[in-house]
């Protein structure tokens, strides 16, 4: 899938947010954090949330889709296949500097839910929320100090930082009263199926593999 804008008809990558054809070529959009989770968990995180109305005229077209399931349809559509992972395998793609790292969701499931790591020399933390079955990355730089994070036991995802011991939720908010409203700095990251991520970033590394 690619996107066009109606003002210039330029063509944009929906994975990278960069225009690669047309007058806007070379322009990049910035990424914002997107929390991929269940309605129940999102509502618990943000009780004041609004939701898209279903009444768009296309209600009959909305069907549940299970992402990450094998179907074998896409490999033969690709110009080349990166067989390091199954094409439809769900990964968390992380971009930092010139580095691209894929964290297979299946591998994240085997961790505590928190991975402290350096990517391209930048200290980041990857959160994996078992309820959401999804991940997201943030910076470990807290006002100039580098923290390590640790998963706190409990069903809802919470992680404590090593500097103040404050607790942070999956959406990167500090939920310890004295620091309320502080948020971790987002590191560009999103869920993808492997074939899309690897087609755009053939030089990606895979977490847990040499």
């Amino acid at each position: 899938m690619v996107m066009t804008d109606r003002q210039t008809n330029s063509i944009w990558s929906h994975l990278d947010g960069e225009a690669f054809e047309g007058p806007m070529t070379g322009q990049e959009m910035g990424f914002l954090p997107l929390i991929h989770t269940t309605w129940e968990e999102w509502l618990a995180l943000h009780p004041e949330t609004s939701v898209l109305s279903y009444e768009t005229g296309f209600e009959a077209q909305y069907r549940s889709v299970t992402i990450g399931m094998p179907n074998g349809r896409f490999d033969r559509q690709l110009l080349s296949v990166d067989d390091r992972l199954r094409s439809e395998e769900l990964i968390l793609g992380v971009m930092e500097g010139d580095a691209f790292v894929a964290y297979p969701v299946a591998a994240l499931e085997q961790t505590s839910g928190v991975i402290n790591v350096d990517v391209d020399g930048v200290p980041i933390v990857v959160f994996y929320d078992a309820v959401a079955n999804a991940g997201i990355a943030y910076s470990r730089n807290l006002d100039g100090e580098i923290a390590n994070f640790e998963r706190v036991s409990g069903t809802s995802f919470l992680a404590a930082d090593s500097i103040s011991g404050a607790l942070w939720d999956f959406s990167g908010r500090n939920v310890t009263d004295e620091h309320a409203d502080a948020t971790l700095n987002f590191v560009t990251s999103y869920l993808s199926e492997w074939y899309g991520w690897s087609a755009y970033h053939p030089d990606t590394t895979i977490y847990g593999e040499p």
Binding site: M1, S13, E28, M29, W39, V51
Partner: protein, 132 residues
């Protein structure tokens, strides 16, 4: 720059070929369109200037580009929203994409986004593009 363009053209070709049949990369990102607004056209990617535009009015000009598929998705433009306590169409385990900008939160049900793929919206006063 030519090398960069060539690379992107190549990878985009791969991706669009796949996505044409699949329709869905689980890839999700919310992208601010502020940078686009700095462009010579002064516009954003349909985030706000297209209020009231019905799906059938979406311009078709770009579909004539030879290098890109003619199949199109129907984007959501400035979609109507409802408060959480008025939601009756989501079950607890249904998946959503959630975004918070300037303290305002909004949920995009995945089963809507797998049909539309693109939502041009304004959240917390910022024009944002949500894509799946």
């Amino acid at each position: 720059m030519n090398r960069l363009m060539t690379r992107y053209r190549e990878v985009a070709l791969k991706a669009r070929i796949a996505a044409r049949t699949m329709g869905v990369a689980a890839a999700v990102g919310v992208t601010s369109l502020l940078l686009i607004a700095c462009g010579s056209q002064g516009g954003s990617t349909g985030a706000s200037p297209t209020t009231g535009q019905s799906p059938s009015d979406v311009p078709e000009a770009e579909t004539s580009r030879e290098n890109f598929p003619r199949s199109r998705f129907v984007p959501l433009d400035n979609p109507d929203v409802v408060p959480a306590d008025a939601v009756t169409f989501l079950q607890p385990d249904d998946r959503v994409l959630g975004v918070t900008v300037n303290g305002e939160s909004r949920a995009y049900p995945v089963n809507m986004m797998t049909f539309h793929h693109v939502a041009n919206d304004v959240v917390g006063g910022e024009p944002v593009l949500v894509t799946f």
